[in-house]
Subunit: 226 residues, 2 copies
Amino acid sequence: MPDADRRLLDEIILPIRDVTARRDLIREGQSSDNVRLIIQGLACRYKNLPNGRRQIVAYLIPGDFCDLHVHVLKAMDHSIATVSACKVVDIPRYRIAEMTERPALARALWWATLVDEGTMREWLLNVGQRPAVERIAHLFCEFHVKLQAAGVVTNGTFSLALNQEDIADTTGLSMVHVNRCLQQLRELGLLKMRYKIVEIGDTVALMRFCGFNSNYLHLDALESVA
Amino acid sequence: MPDADRRLLDEIILPIRDVTARRDLIREGQSSDNVRLIIQGLACRYKNLPNGRRQIVAYLIPGDFCDLHVHVLKAMDHSIATVSACKVVDIPRYRIAEMTERPALARALWWATLVDEGTMREWLLNVGQRPAVERIAHLFCEFHVKLQAAGVVTNGTFSLALNQEDIADTTGLSMVHVNRCLQQLRELGLLKMRYKIVEIGDTVALMRFCGFNSNYLHLDALESVA
DNA sequence: CGTAAAATTGATCTGCTTCAACAAAGGTGG
DNA sequence: CCACCTTTGTTGAAGCAGATCAATTTTACG
């Protein structure tokens, strides 16, 4: 990445904001002139049904870019909330325009959009077609791969601020059933999650168990971007 | 839209290809230098599980643009197939580059991407949280709104090339259950679908029934684009 | 008019939900 | 540093939405 681009990036992410856990960053229906970017912590996009049921549709981890679409968008079609305490940056609209004028940055933004879309397609497959245990296993495989790429995995172990209700709302299952599936995965020796610490003994076994294929994350294309 | 842009568009969509129904346009894992664009007919994006289960993750109707991301992408993370007979155009990579240089066209492409993403989020909510009958009703509401905008709905009636298995693979339900839900919707007087013809008597009632809100389709932003 | 694709029906089964209670952790203020 | 309280996780029991299997009817179409 050219130095000038780096400098632009550094400048953009200057006013860093601290946000506590479990707090909405923006709600469905609101409009926004900013793109939100998570610098540290874990956040999620979600949608609600009138009856209160919640579906988490994406997680935002450090290194993930957010929507780049605000310049066409009139109102948010979903909400964003922190899961853990986060460091957040609000990038004004014109900054995005600046970024898209730099080929290297534009390419990175396109890549991020591509991965987001690919991930949602995979989630649809996951929620629509996989049985509960595999569904949950698949989610953890994805976190493992993404967090590994982010360099925060040691020995198949990483910390993840999710509780079982979050997992339920992500996979379209009930909390109770998620709990039982996690126990099953523990008994199978595939995955341990105890109080925000995830431990995957045999990554390959877990991935084979749920048919995980990381192609949708397009990590190969990442090299030509970063 | 400027005349020059129109001319560019007309030029791009020149070599039109006819494809019969139920045929793959491109398969997961393949790479592609082209973006496919559906001019006429109905197509879908889908993913398969090793055991054969299929999840449809998007429909492509005339007027919808396809992936604009090929220039970063190494391999397809999903397949695309026709549902009905289609007229298809393959747009080479450099043509996309040309288009993104025109502000009006670039804006339209961004809008299309935004809507695709918003739609997938809504589908996740649909598949993950809504009960079967509402889930199916919601799908038909979406088709109604999109096809209405495309100007092919008369009197709440439109033709839709889907069979019940497609609906099942879209909603994550079994074919048998889809059949029973459709009967239920018929009995409720909300929706009739007989052999590729969909008839919605009371649109408002159907939308209220499943809590449909078209905000995720961002039709308001369409005006500033088209 | 015959055949293949799609829709429909019935019966049975099960994966997951719901409800409701209880246990364990972890954070907090005294 | 302990007692309390809240959040999170765990367990059991009962019920049901939706799956599966398998046959039959209807429709489309060559």
